[in-house]
Symmetry: C2
Subunit: 117 residues, 2 copies
């Protein structure tokens, strides 16, 4: 292991460690942030979000579009909803889902830019 002084002139250590410690958001916030990105970290959910970029859609249509069971989509929409990435609107038996806000689009576009460069 590193013994407090593992380098020569370029040494940062102690100082940096303490400086960074003070600038780190608290653990709970960082945990929540990771949880948010975890939601984006599944291709089914990404596809659902991309689909909702175009228009609100009901569960069965998304299922048909992505060739997955209605149950799978419903489970995933639940995840997206509790992360406040989508919202639901009921119309009779049907429930229409749509993007909760524009953050979703921004985050995804930023990610897309990264992988396309």
């Amino acid at each position: 292991m590193c013994a407090d002084l593992c380098c020569d002139e370029k040494c940062v250590h102690e100082d940096i460690v303490h400086k960074v410690e003070h600038h780190l958001p608290n653990d709970e916030t960082l945990y929540d942030l990771a949880e948010l990105f975890k939601v984006f970290g599944d291709s089914t959910r990404i596809k659902i979000l991309y689909a909702l970029f175009e228009s609100e859609m009901c569960v069965c249509d998304i299922a048909e579009l992505l060739n997955l069971t209605q149950s799978a989509i419903s489970h995933q929409l639940r995840v997206l909803k509790s992360a406040k990435l989508v919202k639901a609107r009921r119309s009779g038996k049907t429930v229409f889902y749509s993007l909760a806000d524009e953050h979703v689009r921004l985050i995804i576009n930023q990610g897309m830019e990264h992988i396309l460069e």
Copy 2:
């Protein structure tokens, strides 16, 4: 399951499904995008990235900062590096890691905005 026509006046279906189908990026791209977000979806990695916001750091310092083994950090840095989120610079025995580009900061800040609202 949904039988092609599950609603009344508000019906979208077929039309929307086909329209959205054409606008969806291809499967591989969507998969890669999900893989990218998966990398952000772990609080250890988020903490590492946040630490690197302040300054480049070597492996053992990050390990000390986050109270994790050097091995754990090294494994995670490998993940971050293959996603091109961080880059490495060797100086003697020590390897300093830093953010690969400004996308990282943008994506994380966007995520942070979402959870803080």
